[in-house]
């Protein structure tokens, strides 16, 4: 895991080993293990960082190696979240794991009303280096109480950074950046990302917050997607490429801070925008991105924006019903085709 080898004179040489393929879960655990190794003040409060799926055993290596710094709290979300915040105010670097995203509702007063406000209310004097981690979204059978994507609600709470990786390389680079940022940060993972494989550098670098990544370059339609929706958009990109439609797939990676420039530049180039995100439609992540593009570069849009989101109903249990609401590759491709077929907006 070492980023570089060091000779006896203390000089650094680039690691010559080839990059590896890791699952998202492996990359996440590797990032946590590295933080544990490098930072004696780094603590994890919570037990199910990888969820309850088969990947969960990967986390046991961290637990075995650093038993004093992985704290298993009782089922008391508001209590242990508050503990994390207080510990962060007193010098620790804390990752509070809330497991399923819906459980953050049990801790909302501490996240939204304490951590998010603490710096501002102190006049900028108090840093709270804490990461709130959870697994959001449609996970297959989670139904109404275990499928939430609270990041839009949290985006409406100034004082929280919000990070939504979509690949093993991104989670590997973003988690250390989140912890080291020194600010309260919501780190949004998706349980369906956990088994996804991808290339991760053998000497991974931190990914700065607020820097989007163009996952595919294209000139016809900009698709902005977040978290697992990026993975759903990739097969849609392939399918549409075979139809001669070139998508530019933009992954903001963090919405607070948001790389507005990369989104606006892409839409200025393509003139068409589809936004894919698993928060519910109204006041969701897609709504805000649509509003920014409309306010900044309406004249660049050739056709109206389309949002592909989870509709405004609770998430049902039955696989057929859940799929009806999902931001599937089919829905994404259909939205892009609609964009290409629409008559261009006429302008005076």
């Amino acid at each position: 895991m070492s980023a570089a080898t060091t000779d006896k004179a203390g000089e650094h040489f680039p690691d010559q080993r080839p990059d590896r393929e890791l699952t998202y879960a492996e990359a996440l655990v590797e990032a946590i293990a590295e933080l544990m190794k490098d930072d004696p003040d780094f603590f994890v409060i919570g037990s199910y960082v990888l969820g309850l799926g088969p990947m969960r055993a990967l986390f046991d290596q961290v637990r075995r190696e650093y038993p004093m710094r992985v704290l298993d709290p009782p089922t008391a979300e508001i209590g242990f979240t508050g503990f994390g915040i207080g510990a962060a105010m007193n010098g620790l670097h804390v990752m509070v794991d809330l497991s399923t995203a819906s459980f953050i509702f049990e801790a909302f007063p501490q996240v939204a009303n304490e951590a998010a406000n603490a710096s501002y209310m102190s006049g900028g004097r108090l840093a709270v280096p804490i990461v709130f981690h959870f697994l959001h979204g449609l996970r297959g059978g989670g139904a109404a109480q275990h499928s939430h994507s609270p990041q839009a609600m949290l985006w409406n709470t100034p004082g929280l950074q919000i990070i939504m990786p979509s690949s093993p390389a991104d989670v590997r680079g973003l988690l250390p950046a989140a912890i080291k940022s020194g600010n309260p940060t919501v780190f949004v993972d998706h349980s369906k990302l956990m088994p996804i494989k991808g290339i991760v550098s053998v000497s991974p670098k931190e990914i700065p917050l607020g820097v989007a990544e163009i996952k595919r370059s294209g000139s016809d339609v900009t698709v902005v997607a977040t978290s697992y929706s990026v993975q759903q958009a990739l097969p849609a990109c392939d399918e549409l490429a075979s139809e001669g439609i070139e998508i530019e797939l933009v992954d903001p990676r963090t919405v607070v801070p948001l790389d507005r420039r990369t989104i606006l530049d892409s839409v200025s180039k393509t003139g068409r925008l589809v936004i894919v995100d698993e928060t519910h439609r109204s006041c969701g992540v897609a709504s805000e991105i649509a509003a920014i593009v409309s306010e900044e570069i309406l004249e660049a849009l050739k056709v109206p924006i389309i949002r592909v989101t989870v509709p405004d109903v609770p998430v049902p249990f039955s696989p057929v019903l859940e799929r009806e609401l999902d931001t599937t590759p089919e829905r994404i491709a259909a939205a892009v085709r609609t964009q290409m077929m629409r008559k261009q907006l006429s302008r005076p």
Partner: protein, 344 residues
């Protein structure tokens, strides 16, 4: 009973308590005069909890207050003018006018964060104790809250985790419910809880609990000393309930000087006090009790007390001038301090 301290320290405690009393009384006058600075809470009548509690701790120990925070900020040495400026929303305020009366804090004085959400501060204070524990420091953290916070679930969760992890925290519950001392005789506290004895909530999860008369500065001091020593010796948390009868001026929705400012002579001539407050000043005001105890132990003369008082009144007037003359913050500063560290 006075705290077990030497004369110099005891006089210093009196100074701090008088500063709190005079500063708060002046604040109520400022609120009456306007312009309004919003809803607020004063520490009048609880000085013999906070000031002796602070004296029982070390300066490196952390204090986490609530909406009723002025006494702790002043007690820890916050500048009275800057605290007042904060409450008036001025640039020179402790928190640059972003906190106000409800949320004022002073990280540099070991008061990192204040929460005006009932019970909100309790797990945070305990979490700060967790940090002290794992860093191996001998720091103690104090969660401050009123009886109302024992009605909140978050307080129970924090007590449970603190007990499981044996963190060095003191839960200092200032029970200022109207008839809290009456509750000691076996009745309900007036707060809306089915627990006859608030300490039982703590005891149910293995946190030892003690009750003290909050007007008895020595009892508060000793209870806090014992709790702090237990915490430093890895003995875990303690729940200290300090009971006072709420100052009648805090009974209305907004604080009122229902019988004017306190006069020190009420300590030795209780019959001189206004009818409305004669019982409170004679039996229930910890500050005047402290003064009487100082006088009867011959640690202070009446004239000395009056001299200290008039110095403090002048000090408070200087604070008022400072706060009034301070400028409001520039409007564009509203956009600053969202994040303590640069984001992006």
């Amino acid at each position: 009973m006075l705290p077990n301290l030497g004369k110099t320290d005891l006089v210093e405690l009196l100074r701090k308590m008088l500063l709190v009393r005079r500063w708060e009384e002046r604040l109520i006058r400022l609120a009456e005069e306007g312009p309004s600075f919003g809803h607020y809470h004063v520490y009048v009548g609880q000085e013999t909890i906070g000031i002796p509690a602070l004296a029982a701790l070390r300066p490196t120990d952390l204090i986490f207050p609530t909406h009723r925070n002025h006494g702790y900020l002043l007690g820890r040495g916050a500048d009275p003018g800057r605290l007042l400026a904060e409450i008036l929303g001025k640039e020179t305020g402790l928190n640059k006018g972003k906190a106000g009366t409800l949320h004022a804090s002073a990280p540099e004085l070991g008061i990192p964060h204040t929460s005006a959400i009932v019970g909100g501060i309790v797990p945070i204070a305990a979490g700060a104790a967790l940090a002290a524990q794992v860093k191996g420091s001998d720091q103690v953290s104090v969660a401050l809250f009123g009886d109302g916070a024992t009605e909140e679930g978050v307080t129970f969760e924090a007590l449970n985790i603190a007990s499981l992890w044996k963190v060095p925290v003191i839960f200092l519950c200032e029970n200022n419910t109207e008839e809290a001392l009456g509750a000691a005789a076996g009745g309900y506290p007036k707060s809306v809880t089915a627990a006859n004895d608030l300490g039982n909530i703590a005891r149910s999860v293995g946190v030892p609990a003690v009750v003290v008369d909050g007007t008895d500065s020595g009892a508060v001091f000793t209870a806090m000393k014992v709790a702090a020593e237990r915490a430093r010796a890895s003995g875990g948390p303690t729940f200290v309930e300090a009971r006072v009868v709420r100052w009648p001026g805090s009974n209305p929705l907004w604080p009122e000087l229902i019988a004017g400012e306190t006069e020190l002579r009420y300590a030795w001539e209780p019959e001189a006090a206004p009818e409305l407050l004669i019982r409170w000043y004679r039996n229930q005001d910890g500050l005047l009790r402290y003064l009487r105890e100082m006088l009867s132990a011959s640690l202070l003369e009446k004239d000395e007390a009056k001299e200290i008082d008039s110095e403090i009144i002048q000090h408070v007037e200087a604070a008022v001038r400072f706060a009034r003359e301070s400028a409001y913050p520039p409007p564009e500063s509203a956009y600053l301090d969202v994040f303590a560290r640069p984001s992006q």
